[in-house]
Point group: D2
């Protein structure tokens, strides 16, 4: 069963400007997919619709086979926001515990504490998130995803700017999630990261899914992901 | 004359642990150089020493041929910090004006305003920086560098997480700085960006300059920058 | 029925250090109560326990007559965190809508938009929270509380640093909540605000409820709230 | 000699709307003055003009007897911004050292470290400011002011939201600055703080200095500072 099936999704904030136009794609179990797009491409609207933060206007979305607005769907997928949206009045432990209750996962705090160490945050698990640096907050999001191990994880820019060792470690862990049949969507402009890790890439522009192809085939055709994307941006008018 | 000459720089915070060990390299005029290193590699200490925020303990540093602590050196180089260090009580215009006074540059505010537009910040030049988003602050830093056009600009993670069109535009502008004989040091883990743009890469680990080589030669030898860096991190013990 | 009843609450993070010691108090319907305490007084632990973010170790807590960990209790009380904990990837409208679903309140977005205007945020309701200033985020929290109109609202430092007109307006609105029989707990060191608005004050130090008295009686006895609090802090050893 | 003399200052951003209108006042040596005003009252424009971040358009400003744009004036006055404008890539020590060089003050780092302790930040002096919480950054600003001991210090909302013990300690230290003949301008809406500490208050509305009177006389006439300010805001049309 696919981790995510999006079909015929069209969205308009006001009935006039179309932000998403007949967007459809599938993310299979055990697949890492890159999601690319410039500002205003509709990427955020798409993600919010998947998580039922915006009401679906047309088309269908299934998460792990469940209708996307159902409680079942909501326990399948996890969203790591780009902007360290974490409750600062909780400690790392309290936050992870809260997530565990939310997703019905019994958290092994010893393992969590060890992951904090692995990500160069030894001894900080019981500190207030308010006292975490920007980088630590991103790493706390990553650690939480590795503990919850949802069938589908969407990582929105969270890997930007984390330290190189954490990045390297995260890449290994994401590959492990994939090996377990779990799926990951990576929203990032780090093209080299996508070339290393993504099985497939989706490129959205002006609400239209311009590219839905395996990473290898994009590299075969354009030489690199950046060549494909920047070539598209430079074309006038855009295709 | 080189934009930056670092020679025999050793640094210790406490006299025991060595953070930088005999670091030496040159950045030529008209060169874009990538500076890479894990957390604790000494990268920050190196940059702070170059800008005389930490006192040089041994070795020599020359910026544009001037002793690095001299007023002349300080007007040559500009530092874009990773963490949007901008005075939030100023507007974009007031900030750019302040920088102009600092570097002795007569700012053309019409051009600045147009750059704001180019970077998708139309009409925000006279708003308080306090009201800018994280991404806008990074782009304001980039715009300020493009206006000051210092002989040497050090960009510390500022390109992480900016939108794809701003990234594309910035790459073109940095190439133009290079064509004018100006130099840029890019601190980033976006390996694809470095492969597209950097003439040379410096890789620092545990305070030692492990790699100082042309980007092409690193790719020839290792296949990619990431292969070189991650290969090094995976080696036990590290070379 | 009291909005909040706390009785015999003792808490220890590790079994040795006691953070809360036999804390008990009542907040009646239609009462505004100030909660004061230095860093480490146990204030945060108390609030987290009320909201079941920390598990109750001993004693009882009832919110609107419901056992505090029950779903019924959770829909009664709302917490405004001191540190603008808002999902930055949502717009104001999307956030308010999400809260409405959470508390089972049908949001009147026209009224919400008008409240944004009243709080000097005209035209910003559909902007991303990411683009809101620090002050706007606090005001968005306040607006959301005025829309949800929960029987009990806990406002944790959210009034600090907002502009003077928003403060004045908020005071009037909080008085209106009180007139409707709703209750508010204000955590703030703005003693004048408490003297203007709070019916009663709770002062916590080292986990012990030192003072639980009407604002008037404290002023009668000590001259002012600050005289009571600072007098206590200056006493050696503290009573 | 007065710490600050402002006379006949009028300011307009565009030649049409007047942001400051013939503003004049004096801050004497050894005086603590409260500066109050709603959003858009001109408070920020006034402060930026005093610090020559905006060019004076008409009138005169003298800081410690020096023309306000002269280097001499700039070493007399220090500005603590409301929004923790601190270089996050420096440690506390590095930042204080940098300020010391700027103001020509030989910093006693042992004393600074002790002040960090006093403000509940023991052991954090050599940590990166990036890793400081919001509250710690405000306290770092306060500590820096207590070390620089400029003849004139302007504290812009920096006291909002700091912990109660730090507030109490700061009040004592500000009183000591006053006893040494130094002057402080406090921008805050914490009316009780001003009633405890300020010798005089300035109230600005729509660019006009509405009130310039001793705190005692305002309390005599209106009962409290808040009664004066809120009464003014409630009047229609405003006087």
């Amino acid at each position: 069963m696919p981790a995510l099936e999006v079909s015929g999704v069209t969205y308009s904030y006001d009935g006039f400007v179309t932000v998403l136009e007949e967007v459809g794609f599938t993310v299979d179990a055990g697949e890492i997919v890159g999601l690319l797009g410039p500002n205003g491409s509709g990427k955020s609207t798409l993600i919010k619709t998947v998580f039922d933060l915006l009401r679906l206007q047309s088309g269908t979305i299934a998460v792990g086979g469940h209708e996307h607005a159902s409680p079942a769907a909501k326990s399948v997928a996890m969203y790591l926001a780009s902007n360290d949206y974490l409750p600062q009045f909780l400690t790392g432990r309290e936050y992870i515990e809260m997530l565990g209750r939310l997703y019905g996962v019994a958290v092994e705090h010893t393992a969590a504490d060890r992951l904090f160490e692995t990500f160069s945050m030894a001894g900080r698990y019981d500190d207030l998130i308010e006292d975490y640096s920007h980088g630590m907050r991103k790493k706390t999001q990553l650690v939480s995803a590795l503990l919850m191990r949802r069938p589908l994880t969407i990582i929105d820019e969270t890997l930007n700017g984390i330290d190189i060792e954490a990045l390297h470690r995260t890449e290994k862990e994401l590959a492990r999630l994939r090996a377990e049949g779990r799926s990951v969507i990576l929203c990032t402009h780090d093209f080299a990261l996508l070339e290393r890790l993504a099985d497939r890439v989706l490129f959205l522009d002006h609400g239209v899914l311009v590219t839905d192809a395996s990473t290898d085939s994009v590299i075969d055709e354009h030489g690199s992901l950046s060549a494909m994307v920047f070539g598209h941006l430079d074309a006038e008018p855009r295709p």
